[in-house]
Subunit: 448 residues, 2 copies
């Protein structure tokens, strides 16, 4: 009998799920539903279209219509999933024209993503606050710049806020970032490493105000200023980069349980507590490799890996998702900053006793022209001497070092093993003593 | 009682040994002996001075005289170690002026390095054949170019031959590389990956002739041509890049045994079969992590790691060297090429049944400008499904991927674990699906 697979959401996680299902089940009827006009584009690429590094928003479309045709995936754009009947196994949808339909499923994959979150601030209902989640959001920001906007307030110093802030500066705007925490990128970096990134951003002209809670959105119908810690800030654009929240309404309404992170609870098969219903990507909860606690990492790499697992299971081939380390990387002007595993701050919160070590080195042999600085911080569990976290900020070659340390963490490499690791060296690409190895030495000295 | 430590050789391995010994023993008398005028420079940097990327040979001096003063290391340049008396524990040395002396030691570190090897070819005694091992060698090559040399024959397509060949082309010379094997870089790459590197070199103007044995050096006193497979080749410069051989004479003469690689046999402490005598760097034999066989990898990173272990032991603190993977990286024009672990060819030679997988991908998101191609090959032991080797050729970001896979190999990561690994992604630095992970998938498909 032909299996029916329905996927709600048609970006990274959803398409990966549909594609994986197709690989395992050649005959299944597979339907993807998305509210958006365009499916299969890279959200992570949006800041780089705004900056001008990428020419057009449509360049971000990784999966063109031909892809869906080739894999015989029934893609329904501008269509909203209204509700799920988990007993009768059907999804009620509404097309752009307002027509409702029901679609039956044998397996359902929820990849509803996340939505920018606006805290309960006075005046939050005012018009004109921008965000950057969808292609349409990006187009709106771009229109404002083309219309002559000269300044922007970015509320939130997370990844999206900073990447967008950089893009706006590259387009010539004056940018002020307002963050309620005492450091930028609090989800990813410890304060010492975040400081390094902040200094670079400030050198490039970004104004960053920490410890400032936005308390009011000012304006008549439309935002004209914001107030933070009593001070009023005006600008031509106001960006909500407070963070995102998992889109869970349809799950909750249909009785699919959330986890403690307020995203959809899943098991190792990415299956929710309702059989044959999977949740993947930014709306799904998963388990952290180090803390063993539920997390909702909302990262593209994790979305595709989860999508693949769910799709494979929907295609009736057993597949399991492993725990996550939330390996993250970003480029901000001339530096790359990345992390994997847990930060020192998170370790403390989780009562894990750690020893850390930090080293400043270079990305090439010291004598080689254009060697760039790089700083590596390692977080090591004192009891086991296992590496459990790493943070790197440098001028280049950060991403794959994060991957290297991610592999080390996954395989429970001890800090002493790292210090003796076999690494590759050539003057134009690295120092004789690899910075990761030098950082390991600094930890070992403290362990004695 | 003050300990006496003598180190023969004062480059990567020797200086690292002396420095490590000093860290463990504040009062030891530590003497370094080197034939060369200059100590503590980077041999690996020589091709980049010839190419012009680095301005002066003296820029390669990583350890200036002040370093030796600071660590109270007695450095004796232009001094030759003539013999070792292992019973009376003394080394006989000869200074530049011809004066001989004996120095007593409690611990001795042999870091005599290696010398370019000339096979028993007819006419091998002829003058004028250049090589690139020391700073003086580099200066000689540079003088030839300044004197108007327009063409060069490089005999041998190993790392040194190719890096030098690239440098000479960058200086405007016509370069022909002659290699007896059927591929370039036979020590490092399988033929399929070597082919990719070769094509790039040829595109950049390097003439590469494979399967050609140099059978005669032609000329009166001085080389004027070479013959290979009956064909005569003339050029303004002739470079011996056949490879290097461990400098073992002083060890052999004093009864210190060699291993089967004809380099000095060592144990995990880098100690030779004679107690308190260590051997490190290009003259020392060590054990391969995968094959468990003795090897003499002759790599800078391994030299410093061995030096550190030997010096620590000489300083009376126990330290052990781990087995090697011979992680290697090079940049040749616009590509980086690296490897770690064993090649498919080496696996076959060692009767290890393997499954391999190769993938072509990009170094950035496909839509991101200036994404460069990258090719990853993985070698997996069929029985254990452990990754045992990797080779990568790409436009950028190869080095740290080699390190990542080196960590994976050292921690016996299975190919299935690699396929599910947590990796970092951002459009300017990587693809959503990391190429190493995609390569793992291709292996897994073949394992089924």
């Amino acid at each position: 009998m032909t299996q029916k697979i329905v996927v709600i959401g048609a970006n990274a996680a959803g398409i990966e799920a549909a594609s994986a299902a197709r690989k395992k089940d050649r005959t299944a009827e597979i339907t993807l539903i998305t509210k958006e006009k365009v499916a299969g584009y890279s959200r992570c690429g949006l800041p780089f279209v705004i900056s001008g590094a990428i020419s057009h928003f449509k360049d971000l479309i990784v999966y063109p219509p031909a892809y869906f045709q080739m894999l015989k995936l029934n893609l329904r754009t501008q269509t909203t999933a209204l509700s799920i009947n988990t007993v009768e196994k059907k999804v009620t949808i509404q097309t752009f024209d307002g027509i409702t339909e029901t679609i039956l499923y044998d397996s359902l994959v929820i990849a509803t993503g996340a939505t920018p979150f606006m805290p309960p601030i006075k005046g939050r209902e005012k018009q004109g606050i921008l965000c950057l989640r969808s292609m349409e959001d990006g187009e709106k920001i771009d229109e404002h710049i083309r219309a002559g906007a000269k300044s922007a307030i970015v509320m939130g110093a997370g990844l999206i806020g900073l990447e967008l802030g950089v893009a706006l500066i590259e387009r010539g705007l004056q940018v002020t970032v307002i963050e309620k925490m005492s450091q930028i990128l609090p989800q990813i970096f410890d304060a010492d490493m975040a400081k390094l990134v902040q200094e670079h951003l400030e050198q490039k002209g970004m104004k960053i105000l920490l410890n400032r809670t936005v308390e009011e959105i000012v304006g008549d119908d439309k935002v004209s200023a914001i107030k933070a810690c009593g001070e009023k800030f005006t600008a031509d654009m106001f960006i909500n980069a407070f963070g995102v929240r998992a889109n869970t309404k349809i799950a909750v309404d249909s009785g699919i349980p959330l986890g403690e992170t307020q995203s959809i609870k899943t098991d190792a098969h990415m299956e929710t507590e309702v059989k044959n219903i999977y949740a993947v990507g930014d709306c799904a909860e998963t388990i952290h490799f180090i803390t063993h606690k539920p997390v909702c990492p909302q990262l593209g790499t994790i979305a595709v890996r989860q999508g693949k697992v769910a799709g494979t299971n929907a295609g009736k081939v057993n597949s399991q998702f492993t725990c996550i380390l939330a390996s993250t990387i970003t480029r901000l002007f001339d530096i790359e900053a990345g992390a994997t595993g847990i930060s020192e701050t998170t370790a403390i919160k989780n009562q894990i006793e750690v020893v850390t070590g930090t080293i400043n080195s270079k990305t090439k042999a010291d004598y080689y022209p254009s060697a760039k600085p790089i700083k590596v911080k390692l977080i090591v569990e004192k009891k086991t001497e296992h590496i459990i976290g790493a943070q790197i900020v440098g001028g280049e070659e950060v991403t794959q070092r994060i991957n290297a340390l991610s592999f080390a963490i996954q395989k429970q490499m001890t800090i002493k093993e790292l210090a003796k690791s076999d690494t590759a060296y050539a003057p134009p690409m690295s120092e004789t003593w690899e910075p990761m190895v030098l950082a390991a030495e600094t930890v070992i000295m403290k362990l004695r």
